[in-house]
Amino acid sequence: MLTVDELERYDRQIMLREIGEAGQEKLKRASVFIAGIGGLGSPAAIYLTVAGIGRIRLVDHDRVDRSNLNRQVLHWDNDIGRSKVKSATEKLKRLNPEVEIEAIEQTITEANLAELLTGFDLIVDAMDNLPTRYLLNKAALDNNIPFFHGAIYGFEGRAMTIIPHKTACLRCVYRGVIPEEKFPVIGVTPAVIGCIQATEVIKYIVGIGELLTNKLLNYDALNMEFTEFNVKKDPHCEHCSHMKTTG
């Protein structure tokens, strides 16, 4: 049940026939795990918070560095040196005190991931490296949790939505690793992709629209082109080929 304050706060989105009060209540009941609160995690967390997701858990082991500030918009100049999850939680709570925000300052590992995910309905992949993305993909599949992938490099971004047992997973598309490196980026690129991830999460929770499933969306900011590459489940995928496909 929405409170009087919530009805007022979310009035403009409740007006959308695709959302309405019923959709807003679904958002309020939802819990979202955001892995990484940097360039992608910042816009995703901001828009999920203002949309009225009930509970958000932020996990990141990192501290704010001056070189983060061109894109990681939840962290400001006076946050340099602070824990990213604490810095982000502070701002998100001020944006929307109705949302329960949890800050966990930890490195995501195979050993702690299952526990970190306990009680969460959805995972937003806002990481900056493939090995952790693969851990999240595997955990999402094993625990039957929808997984919202995003990645960027320079003026380019990608997004893909993975529904366990139904669609191609991240490992069906990416089969190797690339060396971790200092990557170039301008803030507007993760801003676009993080917002796309948040949009996919909202659509999934409310049950509306078409998701980016079995599609890898490629955003070319230099030419302002969006391309959808069609992808299929890989029958030899090391993460999902053993799983029974439904729907």
């Binding site: 990484g36 806002a126 990481m127 960027i152 598309v173 990557f183 069609n230 299929k232």
Partner: protein, 90 residues
């Protein structure tokens, strides 16, 4: 056989800063070989020393993944190839 190849942003400097190139061939492998003939500098960005496609290079034919056939996948006149690279930044 004229095939258009869309080149990933990070590789465009190797083909005179063009976004696309025209190649010919009846398979993905032949098309990429023609691309390398025209722009030799791109070879090491696509293939390892044994001539195998690097694992972080993905080829799409008319927006469909070429995996698992990859280099053996047939193409036809007018097809569009896209060379993409894995990205992981956040």
């Amino acid at each position: 056989m004229s095939i258009t190849v869309n080149i990933h942003q990070a590789l465009r400097h190797l083909i005179n800063n063009q976004a696309t190139a025209e190649v010919s061939g009846t398979t993905v492998g032949e098309c990429l070989a023609d691309l390398v003939r025209q722009f030799p500098c791109i070879e090491t960005k696509l293939f390892n020393k044994k001539g195998k496609l690097l694992h972080y290079v993905d080829i799409y034919v008319n927006l469909e993944s070429s995996y698992p056939e990859e280099l053996a996948k047939p193409v036809m006149d007018g097809d569009k190839l896209s060379i993409t690279l894995m990205i992981a930044g956040g």
